[in-house]
Every structure is written in C-alpha cells, then in structure tokens.
C-alpha cells in the first residue's frame, strides 16, 4: 500500500482543516481590510465614544469613538505582519548562526555562549527593554520580539548540523573538496526544512502572543495603530462597562494563536514519522 503523502497526512483530520480555514480567514481579513471594514479605523469621534453596537458601528466604539469592528479587522494586519516579520528575521539569523556554529568548530563555542546569554534573559523583559530603547514602532517591535527567538532557532539548526555532519554523504562531499557553502546548502541545510516549518509555526503564534502582551503592558506598538493587543489594553479600563472591548479582540486573538498552533501540531505530525506514530 502506498504511504500517504505528507500533505495528505497533514490535511487528514478535520480540526486541522478547520484551523486552516480560520487562518485563511485572518489572512483574508488582513488583505481585504479596506473593503471589509466599515469605517476608518483611526477616525476619532469622541461624541459617540463607548457606545454599544449600532448600524454605523457593528461592534460599538472605543474610548475615542473609533469603530471597534474596523479596528479588529485592521488588527489582523499588525498580527500577521508581526508574525511574519519575526518569523523571517529569526529564521534568517537562526539558520545562518546555527549553520556557522554547527559547521565551524571554532565559531561554535562563542556563538553558543552568546545565544545562551540571550536565552537566559526572559524573553518578554528583553523585548520590552529593546522597545523602550529604540522607540515604539512596528519595526522595533518586530525586531524586539525576534531577538529572543533567534537563539532557539540557532540551537535547532546547530543540533541538526551536528547530527548530519557525521553522515557518509556529507563526509564524502567534504572529502571531494566541495566548498563549505555548497555542502551546507545542498546537503546539510535541507534537513532543517521540516523541523523549521514546525518550529516556524510555533514562532509565528508566539510572536502574535508576545505582541499582544507588549501592547497590553504599554510597551508595544504605538497606541493609535490598531493591534489586537492595543485594543485590549485600551479596553481593560472599561471591561465591566463594555466587556466587548476586551472580549471581541480577545476571542479573535486567541482563535488566531490557537489555530496557528494547531497547524504547527499537524505539520509536526505529518513531517516527522516518529511523532506521527504517537497519534
């Protein structure tokens, strides 16, 4: 019997399909935000602040009279950009550093010591400190969240490098005089793709979560920019008056993180046969 392809395996369970649909929905929200929202998410109208749902404002307004529904729609952009940005930076730096550490013995020690140092600092605190230092903007927040993630990717890539280094085909390539870059790119790094896909989804989800925490603590994206974390932080003072201000973005945020994590789980199950056997 032919073994099912990894993709089929991945899509086999209905929770996974549901999760994918949700993530797709969020992406649609982000891409088509200008058409899906009903108002300018930045427009302040203090005269109608803190009102409940109405035809003009489907989910009501916040403390500045801004439309909650439109801000939630646009909030998806921030979350996806933060997730993607952190993913890109941490993978890029992590792969390079991990490959260097795994391939060149001399660099291994020093790179890993620095990574250990960064990992010893609690991620949230390091992120807040970096944002406080470099000012609050989408880019600084992305970098601030990415920096603590880099060591984890580095370790992962490095350990794969170390385990693969002893493989016969790698030894052969080196003996044949293949330049290190080619050895890395053609023989060693491809082994990292599957684990990085899995790790990547978790990083994405974690980034969305940490952005929300930073905004909640007041150390994240500038407050006018609609991010789900910001909307919740603004709404926390009015929680009992208008619970929707916290609950609506809270539900969307939680569902997004949840479904991305679910996709990560499904990817891990599909890509690693040993893990798949567990389920």
């Amino acid at each position: 019997m032919a073994t099912p392809s990894k993709l089929t395996l991945f899509l086999s369970s209905w929770p996974t399909r549901l999760a994918l649909a949700m993530v797709a929905l969020v992406v649609v929200m982000a891409v088509f935000a200008p058409w899906l929202s009903t108002q300018d998410p930045m427009f302040l109208d203090p005269a109608v602040r803190l009102k409940g749902p109405s035809p003009d404002h489907l989910l009501g307004t916040d403390a500045f009279g801004r439309d909650l529904y439109s801000r939630i729609i646009y909030g998806s952009r921030v979350s996806l950009m933060v997730g993607a940005g952190v993913l890109a930076i941490s993978i890029a730096f992590g792969v390079v550093l991990g490959a260097l550490a795994g391939y060149f013995r001399g660099l291994d020690s020093i790179i890993m010591r620095i990574m250990d140092g960064i990992m010893a600092i609690p991620a949230v605190l390091l992120a807040i400190a970096l944002v406080a230092v470099s000012g609050s903007s989408l880019y600084t927040v992305i970098i601030a969240i990415a920096v603590p993630e880099i060591p984890r990717v580095t370790r992962l890539v490095r350990s794969i490098m170390l385990s693969v280094r002893g493989e016969p085909y790698v030894e052969a390539a080196i003996t044949l005089g293949t330049p290190p870059a080619k050895v890395l790119l053609r023989h060693m790094l491809p082994n990292t793709v599957a684990p990085l896909i899995v790790q990547g989804t978790y990083i994405f989800a974690s980034a969305v979560l940490i952005e929300a925490i930073l905004s909640f603590l007041g150390a994240g994206i500038p407050p006018e920019v609609p991010s789900w974390g910001n909307i919740i932080a603004d709404g926390r003072s009015y929680f009992q008056l208008i619970p929707g201000l916290v609950l609506y973005p809270g539900i969307v945020l939680s569902l997004t993180i949840l479904t991305i994590n679910m996709i990560g789980d499904a990817a891990r199950d599909a890509l690693d046969p040993k893990l798949a056997a567990r389920n």
């Binding site: 203090p46 403390a63 006018e224 926390r236 003072s237 009992q240 008056l241």
Partner: protein
C-alpha cells in the same frame, strides 16, 4: 466550707479576670485605616523639586505651611501666630505658633522657616519673582523672622499661602539646606501625619500615621485653612494598575477612597448604595496644549494662531472627560469661575475652524513639515486621552502631524529640550494644570513670557512680563483685575498657551468615610471612618 471556698475563689478569679479582659478589649480596639488610591503612585519624596501633584499631596500629609487660603480665598495663618507689616509696606515680620514640633521631637524654629523658604523660592516660579523683590531675610528670635522687600508688595503672603505647586512646605533646616537640584530623601515634617518610611514601597504604597504631637489650630477647617485635625489612625496610599481594578476594589471594600474616579466608570459607582461620589470642583483642572515657540514652525505667530483655530474644545473634552456634567468649554486662562476670569482673545479656540486654520497656514507660509506632538499614553488627564483628538483636528486644519507615543516620564524629560526636533526636540506637548495653580498671572506659570527662562514652550513677550511685575507689586483689586485681563488678551494673541477647557474632579469614597473636605488639594485631616 469546701463549697464556699470554691465559690468564693470562682468569684474572686472572675473579679480579677473581668478588668483584665475589659482592658484587653479596650486595647484591642481596631485601628482605623483609610486606604486610598491617589491620582498617581508615589515614587519620590521631594515636593519642592517637582510640580507633580501626587508629591504635593504627600507634602500636605507630613509637612505644614506658614499660611494657607480659606474657602473664601482669604489668606489665613497656619503655622504662624501672626504677621506684621511695617508702615512702609516693605517689611514683614512673621511669628510662629507655640507647640510646633518636628516628627523627631525638636521644635520648629525661625531658622527652619528661612532655609525652607529659600530652597522653595529657587524652584517655584512665583517664589523666583518674590526673590527678585526680596532684599533680606532675617531671624529675629527662635520663633520670629522678617523679610524685607525692595518695594511695598504683599507677594510674600500670596506666594507662601498658595495651595499648589509648589507649596511652601516648611522643612527642618538641615534638610532644607539640600541643594534645590538634589532630591531630598528624608520625611521629617511638622505636619498632622507622620510618614512610615519602613513601609514605603515606591510605586506601590505609602503609609502615614497620625502625628499624636501635632497641635492643630482652633478654627474649624475652611479650604486649606483652619484646624488640621486628624481623626483616623492610619492612611495608606496604594496604587492600582488600571481604573477598572480600582473601581472593583472600592466596591469590594478593599479600598475606601479614590482621589480621581474615572468618569466613564462613574455609572457603575452611582448604582452602589455604599459609595458616595464627591464632585470636588475646586480640585478640577485645565488641560492645556503648549507650543514650542523656539523652533519652527511655531516660532511663527501666524502658524501658532492656525493651531489655535484648528482646536475644538468640546471634542477634546469629550474624549478626556466624556460626561458633560463634569466639564465645560471656556477660554479663560485663569479659570472659568475664578476672580480673574476673562475670555478675551479666546474666540477662535472653542470651536474648530479648519478653514481659518488653513488660511492662516497659507499666510504664514507653512512648509508642510510635520509637527511633533508628544502623546503620554500612561497619563490620561495629561493628554493620554486626548492627544489623538488634537492630532486629528490639526490635520483637518491643514497641518501635518507626527504623533509620538511615549510614557509621561519621557515627556517630562523631552519637553526640557530646546533643540530642534531632529536632535530630540518637540513642537507640542500637553498636560493639565490644577485650578489652584492657574488663579492669576503670577501663580499661572504658563503666562510667564520671559523667553528661554520661561516654562517649557518658552514664549517671549516683554509686555506680558511688565504686566506681571506690576501685578506682583500692586494691591488694588480693580487694578489687579485690569492687569489680569490685559495679560489674558496678550497671552492669547501670542498663543503662549492653549487652554482646552475645564473639568471637575470626582472623588469616589465608601459612605463610611465622613468629613471629606472641599479643598483645592485632597487632604486627609478631618476625615472619620465609621463602621462599613
């Protein structure tokens, strides 16, 4: 006999036990503690080095003032027994009351007063004016000292009695000798409360106990004047991470008092029959917008006037306060209901006039450089809740605006910079002044127009300065009113400061607290706590 012995010994032991238990019960009377959430957490202890209101409030707990102002606006003695003015009006002699002691037991002396006034005068804007007029300060004896001025003026009375920042708190001489730019860390005062330094957690809690040795005046309290009688054992100031938590804590009896209850959440409290809402009109404030006169584009008067025209007070106050019961729009720099209220020159200010703003920008040749406005996200009343509204109004008026979010501490740092924006400077910042601070052209430091020596924003107008000097030396009521109105007109024309309206503060307390005074500063004397 055996039985009798038993009975009598029983009775005997009862008789002995009874007074013991009663004594114990008496000693076990629970101490009354008032737990309060003030407008900001207390983080530092020098009320002379900073104008921050929470630190001023702390000052009133443990320090005392020589003079204070009563509910009718009259200056009354507080620590003083009396004062005398010489025939030529240039020398004032002050005599302290009996029984004034520091918290460490030593008596309060004239030396303490002189040193304290000197330190305070270096920092306080009105004190600085007073200093320029002072020719000498002399000790007469341990309880008496005199101050001589170059011209007849009662500025010393007005300056030493003014309730708000900076209040002229009297400190021990050795503490007052600290340089005015170095914060003091000691908390020894002569006021009605003592500070419990061992329980102080900056940013979290501050604890005060009744000063048993304090000798209050005999008069009933009125405004800031009269007897400061403490009727509770302990006051604890605690901080809350956000407004909602504070409200819940109040409803749950976890705290007793919130100095400034958030307006939006008042409906929740209005329905609670155990909670009283107190509209402290005299503790209200005036939010202001301050432009940087030193650097472009606001070094150009026409562009400043454009900004003023673009402003719509109502929308700003709606965002800041929300409930129209607690705010009003008005362009009077010295307070809408105060003695020197005048709205001269403020016509443009109340409603947004985007077209007029655009026209003025064109006339002033505005080149489109974005104006940087600082947004203190952690301090709602200072701009956290309304800077975005201002930004939108300015944009509608033709300005390009760059809103920079930061915490209040950073605003306080950055606003001191006179450099161009590219080097860390700023164009606009906002804050609010308490009504007690803005009462006249001297105490209202936003109208000081001595250029680089003025308050942040640095407006320049020799005419205004001349008027303020005259205000300092005049004593005629009608003359003072005329001078104040002139200052209002000129300040508005120069756009020295843009008042954004006026609001009253609402305090929320459990009904078990009685005797909360209506004073320009929240005070904890006279408050009693009954059973809750």
């Amino acid at each position: 006999m055996y039985k009798t012995l038993k009975v009598s010994s029983l009775v005997g032991s009862l008789l002995v036990a009874l007074p013991l238990t009663m004594g114990a019960a008496g000693a076990a009377r629970a101490e009354t503690v008032v737990t309060a959430v003030m407008q900001a957490p207390l983080r530092s202890l020098d009320p002379v080095i900073t104008t921050a209101y929470v630190i001023r409030n702390y000052g009133y707990m443990i320090y005392d003032t020589l003079l204070s102002v009563d509910a009718n606006g009259e200056i009354k003695p507080q620590m003083l027994e009396k004062w005398e003015v010489s025939a030529d009006g240039k020398t004032y002699t002050f005599t302290l009351r009996d029984g004034l002691k520091w918290h460490d037991g030593k008596p309060v002396t004239a030396d303490d007063c002189i040193a304290s006034i000197k330190r305070w005068a270096k920092q306080d804007k009105m004190g600085q004016v007073m200093e320029t007029l002072t020719t000498s300060m002399d000790k007469v004896n341990d309880k008496t000292f005199s101050m001589t001025f170059s011209a007849p003026t009662n500025i010393v009375l007005r300056a030493l009695s003014k309730p708000s920042s900076l209040a002229a708190f009297i400190m021990p001489e050795r503490v007052a000798k600290t340089s005015p730019s170095e914060p003091i860390t000691e908390s020894i005062g002569s006021g009605p409360f003592k500070f419990v330094a061992s329980e102080y957690k900056p940013g979290v809690q501050a604890v005060f106990v009744k000063n048993q040795d304090y000798v209050p005046r005999n008069e009933p309290p009125s405004g800031m004047a009269g007897g400061r009688v403490v009727k509770v054992d302990k006051v604890r100031w605690v901080s809350m991470p956000d407004a909602m938590t504070g409200i819940n804590a109040l409803k749950n009896k976890e705290i007793d008092f919130i100095e400034q209850a958030p307006y939006d959440l008042l409906p929740i409290l209005e329905q609670d029959k155990d909670i009283q809402l107190i509209v402290a009109k005299s503790q209200g404030g005036q939010p202001i917008m301050r432009l940087n006169h030193l650097i472009p584009p606001f070094d150009n008067k026409l562009i400043r006037k454009a900004a003023m025209a673009a402003i719509d007070q109502k929308a700003i106050m709606q965002a800041d306060i929300g409930n129209p019961k607690y705010y009003s729009t008005c362009g009077a720099l010295f307070g809408c209901d105060s003695t020197y209220a005048s709205t001269a020159g403020s016509e443009d200010l109340i409603k947004a006039e985007p077209e007029k703003s655009k026209a003025l920008l064109k006339e002033g040749k505005y080149d489109g450089t974005p104006v940087v406005i600082m947004h203190p996200t952690d301090f709602a009343n200072a701009g956290g809740s309304f800077v975005p509204v201002i930004a939108q109004q300015l944009r509608q008026g033709g300005f390009k605006v760059d809103v920079q979010a930061m915490d209040w501490q950073t605003v306080v740092t950055r606003r001191a910079s006179q450099k161009p924006v590219a080097e860390g400077g700023w164009n606009i910042f906002t804050t609010y002044l308490s009504l007690a601070d803005i009462t006249d052209p001297l105490s209202n430091y936003t109208v000081a127009a001595n250029g680089k020596g003025a308050w942040f924003g640095w407006p320049t107008s020799p005419e205004i300065e001349k008027l303020r000097q005259q205000f300092a030396t005049s004593a005629d009521a009608a003359e003072l009113k005329r001078l104040a109105t002139e200052v209002q007109k000129l300040a508005m024309d120069e756009v020295a400061v843009v008042p954004l309206g006026e609001f009253s503060v609402v305090a929320a307390a459990r009904k078990s607290l009685k005797g909360i005074l209506n004073a320009p500063v929240p005070v904890f004397w006279n408050i009693e706590k009954t059973k809750d």
